[in-house]
């Protein structure tokens, strides 16, 4: 069974590869390369896979899931400039692809239980663009 919970955070970023020139960055990323950054209202959907506990009828305690998402992702990302304030984005370009991978890496250790595993993360950068990541090898 799959259970999906949605959270939102707002953050700024700049898409820039420090190994490239300003001109190359502009050609590659367009307006997203503006060095002062720009922002999005990100929506994160986290999907957990598991079987319901026969006693509680629940796959996992949704309050616990909410706490994990808030602690591991929202508290770290919300109202931050990702490149400057959130590891690993001083080294990794904060594209939605890399944000999805980072979110997976943050959540995975906390959602791998005896009854549950992290199935996938979906990041909406805008309502018209989203990225899915199902872990390494998937």
């Amino acid at each position: 069974m799959l259970i999906t919970r949605k959270v939102e955070f707002s953050a700024s970023h700049v898409c820039r590869n420090p190994q490239l020139t300003d001109e190359e960055n502009r050609a590659l990323f367009g307006a997203a390369a503006n060095p002062h950054g720009h922002g999005h209202n990100y929506v994160l959907e986290v999907t957990v896979e598991g079987a319901p506990d026969p006693v509680t009828g629940m796959v996992l305690d949704l309050k616990l899931l909410k706490d994990i998402l808030n602690r591991e992702v929202v508290d770290a990302y919300d109202h931050r400039f990702l490149n400057h304030e959130v590891a690993p984005f001083s080294q990794v370009i904060p594209t939605p692809e890399n944000i999805a991978i980072d979110v997976w890496n943050r959540l995975h250790p906390h959602l791998s239980g005896s009854r549950t595993r992290l199935h996938g993360v979906r990041i909406f950068e805008t309502p018209d663009l989203y990225v899915d990541y199902f872990g390494e090898g998937a």
């Binding site: 898409c15 590869n17 190994q19 490239l20 590659l28 990323f29 367009g30 990794v92 370009i93 904060p94 594209t95 939605p96 692809e97 890399n98 999805a100 991978i101 309502p127 018209d128 663009l129 989203y130 990225v131 899915d132 990541y133 199902f134 998937a138």
Partner: protein
């Protein structure tokens, strides 16, 4: 692997009418959608693409290249058109969302290599919603 999904919109009219069937059968089968003068929808399509993240750009697909491909092959020919009258593909096939989804996949696949010369990213699927109540998803693997 990362999967990126991008949504696009176009507005078009169509009429559902199978030429192999009689007038009455068509009316019974398609109901209001068989109205001889046609009717329109605000279509939403979602194009899903997969590939590894490129280290140089941090991206799995160049969105501008994808946008340009979809604009040229789908939005420009479909938007504000009568699908039955204006699209060659729907002279032979009824412009249901099923057939529309297949036509969008066919157009994207035929022009994919010219837009994306490398083995990745590849087209994964196209989903099409005639209204927000029904969604039809066509895998890129089911179309030649």
């Amino acid at each position: 692997m990362i999967r990126i999904t991008r949504k696009y919109r176009f507005s078009a009219s169509h009429r559902l009418h199978a030429p192999q069937l009689g007038e009455r059968e068509n009316r019974e089968l398609y109901g209001k959608c068989n109205n001889p003068f046609g009717h329109g929808h605000n279509y939403e399509i979602a194009v899903s693409v997969s590939g590894p993240v490129d280290a140089r750009s941090g991206r799995a697909v160049d969105i501008e290249v994808l946008d340009a491909l979809v604009r040229r092959e789908v939005l420009e020919p479909f938007d504000h058109r009568n699908l039955n009258e204006d699209l060659e593909a729907f002279r032979a096939a009824v412009p249901t969302s099923e057939n529309l989804g297949r036509e969008v996949v066919r157009r994207l696949k035929q022009n994919w290599r010219a837009a994306f010369p490398l083995p990745e990213p590849h087209l994964e699927s196209v989903s099409i919603a005639e209204t927000s109540r029904n969604t039809f998803e066509v895998s890129a693997y089911e179309i030649e």
